[in-house]
Amino acid sequence: MGCMRHADLFGTPRCRRAAALFALLGFLGAHPALAQHEHSSSEFEVFVAAEGLAGHGQPHPREDDPWVDADVIFGLTHGQFRVFGEYFITSEEHDLERFQMGYEVVPDTMVWLGRFHQPASAWDTEHHHGRYLQTAITRPAIENWEDEEGLIPQHITGALLESRRPLGSESGLQINGGIGAGPAVANGETEPITLVGSNPGKHGLSMTGRLAYLPEYVGNSSAGLLWGHDQLFVRNPLALAKLGSNHATLGIYGAYADWSVDAWRFIGTWYYVDVELDPPTRDESFMTGYLQVERQLPHHLTAFSRIEDSSRMQESRYVALFDDHSSDIDVMLRRQAAGLRWDYARRQALTCELSHAVSLFERATEVRVQWSAAIP
């Protein structure tokens, strides 16, 4: 019955589209012969995680803290063409997070059409929804997804350019840019265009980009500049009343570094977010950033620690829009986290993380334990 009610963007009921998607996934997964074809190859990976949470100050786990989740990656390459998707499933939700059709114009330069993660988030474009490749259990609050009270739009539906060019004999330059329809503002969250559901509200233009230096063309380190421009239209009367504006234009300026030196890894990002609102509401701005340090230890252990901080967020009407005054931690101003990860088996890890967070109205101390894996 629910299937009949959820006719959406492409006029196909949601359940039927999901069934078709799973049929495609099954086809890709069950046909290794496809991978052996002369010019075609396919990819199928599942990142799974299970998490336990305890603490005080935040008695109820948030939606982004499901006790179990699976992130299904599927890709099909034929010559210079590639189709690629990411389907995220939890006990609370399931969504086609990314679906991209691309053409490799020249080696290591792809032009994509579809729904993608905006390239100005160094964290999210590195880890996406899969948790296994992320050393810490939690992600920095400013990198949260839209349905986790994320302040910065992360999903765009449109066109994406991803290019990596050599710079000298060993180094490289990464140039990523995306343009398309961004999210609409509802009460308590922004809502990006979904490919498997309805899309109420007006979706404004999002433009976003990253310019990064790679000390090694095929290495793990990079550092660069981030930029984004998002027009967000308010679609909810309650949100309109809170914001005092029909729309908000975000100007995002940032810098990041993800640098590995021997057994050490440093991930740091700083954002300045400018929020333009309709007169007479005053424009506003805030800053936020984080630094995570990781150290590989003997016996497949990795210790990590992260500090997150912000400035002027508690004065922002735009930021206040994302706090529903519940007992949950919605908008985080500061957090200190530390933990230990143990890669005890091939493609399997156990992680423990202790954190203390300060939000607009709450304080919380948490202990999380997570099992994560990549299959096959």
């Binding site: 991978a35 052996q36 002369e38 010019h39 190859s41 396919s42 990819e43 990976e45 990142f47 990656i73 599927f74 890709g75 099909l76 390459t77 010559g79 210079q80 590639r82 189709v83 690629f84 998707g85 990411e86 991209q100 490799e104 080696p107 290591d108 792809m110 474009t125 590195e126 880890h127 996406h128 899969g130 296994y132 490749l133 991803e162 990596r164 004999s169 060993e170 063309y217 095929v218 793990n220 497949h300 890669d343 091939r346 493609r347 990549a374």
Partner: protein
């Protein structure tokens, strides 16, 4: 007349030479080589390009997209590949390939647990690049050795 001591010396020398020769042959066979199909037009690939290829990035030659295949027929050749071609530990290499899959849906190289199957795959497809023990491909007319990537 030849003394028995002289005979013993000559025999010992012959045995020693034979042993040394055998040892030298075994020693020379300890090489890992980069291979392509005998029908392939792929020319020389320098070390950075080979590394890039096996790290899952796009490498083309003469308009053809090269396809890497991994040889995991034995633990030693896998270890030599990690040390001499991609310069990474096993877990770092695995995570690197997983990252490429997660980020761009890039296909991971096909893994072969049998060297004969790998050689068949390389021989059958002109764009495929693999690696194998020299002793296993030296007299195989279906594959061509591009270069030595490791020798003892």
């Amino acid at each position: 007349m030849v003394s028995s001591n002289s005979v013993k010396h000559v025999a010992a020398t012959i045995v020693l030479v034979l042993l040394l020769g055998a040892a030298t042959r075994a020693f020379a066979a300890e090489e890992v080589v980069l291979i392509v199909s005998a029908r392939s037009s792929i020319g020389q690939l320098d070390s950075p390009l080979v590394r890039r290829l096996f790290l899952g990035l796009t490498v083309t030659q003469h308009g053809s997209r090269l396809r890497p295949v991994l040889n995991e027929a034995d633990a030693q050749i896998k270890e030599l590949f990690l040390q001499n071609i991609v310069s990474m530990s096993d877990s770092t290499y695995d995570r690197y390939l997983l990252r490429l899959s997660l980020q761009q849906g890039r296909t991971q190289p096909t893994v072969y647990k049998s060297e004969s199957e790998l050689i068949d795959a390389v021989a059958a497809e002109p764009a495929t690049v693999g690696y194998a023990w020299m002793r296993d491909v030296a007299h195989n007319p279906r594959v061509r050795v591009l270069r030595v990537v490791w020798h003892d």
